[in-house]
């Protein structure tokens, strides 16, 4: 069975600094990986996905993610954090049948 791990419950970063939210995966076959963001009392919003091709994936709101097959990681990054980036971030992998398997989530807090 596929699984996704987000090793940090919370990440704190100062506004303007680069941010990284970590994700590791365990899948059989080719990994199909996603990042979603959830703002308070809202549904999940799609940020980006890796299916195949370039290891660096660019997504919405200036976010990008780096796929690393040897380390089985798919970390979310942004060069300069904004206070408005504070939210709950989910990494997910897709199983056959379009089913998403989610990590537990990481709270990102950006302080001014």
């Amino acid at each position: 069975a596929q699984s996704v791990a987000q090793p940090e419950d919370q990440v704190n970063v100062a506004e303007g600094n680069p941010l990284t939210v970590k994700c590791t995966y365990s899948v059989s076959g080719n990994p199909y990986l996603f990042w979603y963001v959830q703002y308070p009392n809202r549904g999940l919003q799609f940020l980006l996905k890796y299916i195949t091709g370039d290891n660096l994936v660019k997504g919405s709101y200036g976010f990008e993610a780096e796929f690393n097959k040897s380390q089985t990681s798919f970390h979310l990054k942004k060069p300069s954090a904004l206070v408005s980036d504070s939210a709950l971030y989910f990494c997910a992998s897709m199983e056959y049948g379009n089913k998403l398997v989610f990590g537990a989530g990481t709270i990102l807090r950006v302080k001014s």
Binding site: G43, L44, I51, Y96, N98, K99
Partner: protein
């Protein structure tokens, strides 16, 4: 373009009662999904549907029933609510992609989520 909507947004019920959560999407997406979100677990798949009249179990289906008579609707019913079903429920939909993976049987299309229903079972 309304996208994907859920109703009600908030619901309080009592143990043993039947509750139905509604999900409606305007995109004519083939796939629809129900997830529940609980602290420490992220989102877990309850049921999903690949098309009208086709449904299948996800990771945590016990205590839930779904139907899909129309492409745009995917109601989730708790036949006899229990306290452990207190959660936030999210509906999602995605198109049946044509990525050509696995002989065209596997889609990696993005899932789009509704705003959620917060259900409390007393």
């Amino acid at each position: 373009d309304a996208g994907i909507t859920q109703s009600p947004r908030y619901k309080i019920t009592e143990t043993g009662r039947q509750v139905t959560l509604m999900c409606h999407q305007t995109w004519s997406h083939s796939y629809m999904f129900w997830y529940r979100q609980d602290l420490g677990h992220g989102l877990r798949l309850i049921y999903y549907s690949a098309a009208a009249d086709i449904t299948d179990k996800g990771e945590v289906p016990d205590g839930y029933v779904v139907s899909r008579s129309k492409t745009e609707n995917f109601p989730l019913t708790l036949e006899s609510a229990t306290r452990s079903q207190t959660s936030v429920y999210f509906c999602a939909s995605s198109e049946k992609g044509r990525d050509g993976l696995a002989g065209g049987r596997f889609s990696t299309d993005t899932q789009y989520f509704g705003p959620g229903t917060r259900l409390t079972v007393l």
